[in-house]
Amino acid sequence: MSGHTVPADISGHMLDFDEDEDLEVFSKNTSLTDGDPIPNSPGSMVNQYRLEEDEEEQQQDGDTKDIFVTVDNPENHITALETFIMYRVVTKTTRSEFDSSEFEVRRRYQDFLWLRSRLEENYPTLIVHPLPEKFVMKGMVERFNDDFIETRRKALHRFLNRISEHPILSYSQYFKVFLTTQELASHKKQGPGFLSRMGVTMRAVANSVRGLRSRLDEFTVMQEYVEDFSNKIGIVDKVTQRIIKEQREYLDDLKQYSPTYFQWAESEVELVEPLKGVGSCVERCTKETEEQIQHLSEVLVPALHEYILCADTLKGVMRRRDNIQAEFEAKNEAMGSRKNDEEILQEEVDNLADRMEQANNALRGDWSRWKTIMRTDLRSAFVATAEKNMEYYEKCLAVWESFLVSQRGESTEQREEEHAS
């Protein structure tokens, strides 16, 4: 956990957050030797402080949280060319970096995508919470279906909250812009060039690299964990979906079952009460089953789904970390064969080495943070599911017991009648 004296945050170390330019973390030209000392701006020092605190608490709790974001009020937005949903994003904050304490903007899904890709570009080895899927999942009718919109809204809300709770990402310029700027379009124009530039770099590296020389054990372990986790969480999700499917079929048959008691009661005299009693017990249990299925769909399924997406995010993070290392190794190797530019190359190699070191540190810090959050999230989802199941059985139990009580009451009545006559 804590024990790092060097903050895992590379950006705070190297650059000032309040700059408006794109953060050119990966540009080969950025280096410590450019003359910039480690900035001692209040901003970065505050960040460092916050980081240490976070490493102990692993995330901001209610007391220290100073930024609150909500996503709500989805509305249809119609233009000449297309129709889409706009969500309202409300921010309340006491942070000094913000000009005001409250902001309200409208954002569409694409805007969230933009934000996330900016964050990933700039913090390649930080774990950026995933967004809900772009495309409609199979089985859904249309993307304007109410359930789909609500599910997406919740996921978008969770996404922004995760970002706002992140000790580094929440201070990203892009995040601030996303939350505060009315017209995002102009800001979105910047960046793509950078992105494609980075892509070129990546590809060049990929072409020259024959594989990593020596990955540190800890990252190999991480990689393996990510693979396994991804596999396991996928299975848990499948099992859960299967349970829901079987529960739905059970529900359908239950709905056919209770009427058979009522129908039979119509041709009986003495048995009317017990038959109707059992019939209505089955009816009520059917209702409870319906609620239980809903709970499963609304609590456990989204949680599992999110972590399936997280697993993919982690895979991306591991890949990018590997690439950073690969870039360094390639340059390092190349150094041996070009004696002439040795001095310049040495500089470049050193920069890449630093970059790699910082990327690794960033990942390390965020890794334990992520694991803790994952543990909390999944634990509470499973606990909630278990509690709902307990509640289901408790309610059904009460229903059947009250039936027994009514039957006992009736038989005592009958006996009293017989004694009287």
Binding site: Y225, D228, F229, K232, I233, I235, V236, V239, R242, I243, E246, Q247, E249, Y250, D253, L254, Q256, Y257, T260, Y261, Q263, W264, S267, E270, L271, P274, L275, G277, V278, C281, C285, R375, L378, R379, F382, V383, A386, E387, N389, M390, Y392, Y393, E394, C396, L397, W400, E401, F403, L404, Q407, S411, R415
Partner: protein, 433 residues
């Protein structure tokens, strides 16, 4: 189980397990020797065994035999009499029942357990040789014997007594009664369609009710089976959680223990459905008994229709013969008759011939009146006895089914309690994640 103190406690099975008892204290029928067989003798179907032997056409076959144990309740010479036992096949039970149906057509005959497994949810084998099926059949056969032996009328039957006590030669005894001939004619008659002018209203209402009972119980059984199937699937899928949690726990440090133990509870949950559904099968069996009882009830009503029809036919016949006599005596033809026609065409017959015919008619009329008198008495007696047993049956049915429904509620409660316990345990484990 009867809670009323006033109801006689009748000896049930030899192994002491609980049985549903028909009400032995109500006695609407013609009294036999006053005490039903079951009061004098303990009866149980203790075991089942596989046997093989040659059948009627000389082919090798495997079948199951059931051990019937009996023990007289009164002590002889101060000592407790030893138990007696013999083996019977299902087909012998069928023979007994067929004999009883023919001999006591006015009794709503207790049914045998089903010949082939019907309304079984898929996990339960439909195979007649399956041990669970055999066991449930054993219980059903015992139930049949107990019902018959405690019936105020049936329990006095000699063939029944010998069924329980005379292993060899019993079949021959049954065939000697020549019930088979009656059985065949009865079957033919029951399947025929005929119109009855004035059947006994209460019995006809009962026939209508028997149709309803049959329809409703079979619908319920079918629906319950489907529900059981689905529930089975739901529980079993949770077993997959058990496996994946176990695998997942291997890659986690802090979460590992919680996941692993939660997985065990998921396995327990998946396993728990087997016992739950097996118990519910008893409930299904109780309902099935009344599904088959509905058929027996209907048969009693149909037999009345048959008897009434025969009476009406005999009366009809008598009326027409009397009319013929009148025509002959007075010479006035009231209704069209072939004889009348030929008389007109060829002239009337000679007085001697008329005399002869009149005498014959008188004889036939006398016979016919005798027949109608007998048939009327038969009909009345049948209605009286049948109605008495229908009432007895209705009381028994109400009591049994109410008990069955209450038992069902108990089963559901037990299932819920189990569910609460398992998920509570799972929750504890999840909290440790």
């Amino acid at each position: 189980m009867a809670e009323d103190g006033k109801e006689e406690s009748v000896a049930s099975s030899c192994d002491g397990s609980d049985r549903t008892e028909p009400d032995g204290s109500l006695n609407h029928t013609v009294p036999g020797d006053g005490s039903s067989l079951l009061r004098r003798m303990e009866i149980c179907v203790a075991e089942a065994e596989r046997r093989s032997g040659k059948n009627a056409v000389g082919m090798q076959e495997t079948f199951t035999v059931y051990l019937i144990e009996t023990r007289l309740l009164e002590s002889v010479d101060g000592r407790n009499p030893p138990p007696d036992s013999l083996w019977r096949r299902y087909s012998e039970f069928e023979l007994l029942r067929n004999y009883l149906i023919v001999t006591y057509p006015f009794i709503v005959m207790p049914p045998l357990p089903e010949k082939r497994a019907e309304f079984v949810w898929h996990k339960l084998s439909a195979d007649n040789m399956d041990p669970d099926f055999v066991e449930r059949r054993r219980v059903g056969l015992e139930n049949f014997l107990l019902r018959v032996a405690s019936h105020p009328v049936l329990s006095n039957d000699k063939i029944l007594y010998h069924f329980l006590t005379k292993e060899h030669g019993w079949k021959e005894m049954v065939y000697e009664t020549e019930f088979q001939a009656k059985a065949d004619s009865r079957l033919r008659a029951l399947n025929a369609t005929f119109r009855v002018r004035s059947p006994n209203k209460p019995l006809m209402e009962t026939k209508h009710y028997s149709d309803e009972l049959q329809s409703h119980t079979s619908q319920l059984l079918r629906a319950r089976t489907r529900v059981a199937d689905r529930l089975y699937a739901v529980y079993k899928v949770h077993g997959n959680y058990g496996r994946v949690f176990s695998e997942w726990s291997a890659i986690e440090k802090e979460m590992g223990d919680g996941l692993q133990s939660a997985g065990h509870h998921m396995d327990a949950y998946a396993a728990s459905i087997d016992d739950i559904l097996e118990e519910e099968e008893h409930y299904a069996d109780q309902l099935k008994e009344y599904l088959f009882y509905a058929e027996a009830l209907r048969a009693v009503c149909r037999k009345h229709e048959l008897t009434q029809f025969e009476l009406e036919m005999a009366s009809q016949d008598l009326v027409s013969k009397k009319q013929q006599r009148e025509e002959l005596a007075t010479g006035i033809v009231r209704t069209f008759s072939f004889k009348g026609m030929t008389n007109k065409l060829f002239g009337q017959e000679a007085p001697e011939q008329r005399e002869a015919r009149l005498n014959l008619l008188e004889e036939l009329i006398a016979e016919g009146e005798e027949a109608v008198k007998d048939k009327t008495a038969e009909c009345e007696e049948y209605v009286e006895r049948a109605w008495a047993d229908v009432l007895r049956f209705k009381d028994q049915k109400d009591k049994d089914l109410q008990e069955a429904l209450i038992n069902y509620a108990h089963m559901q409660i037990s299932m819920c309690k189990k569910g609460i316990q398992i998920w509570s345990n799972a929750r504890e484990c999840f909290l440790k994640m």
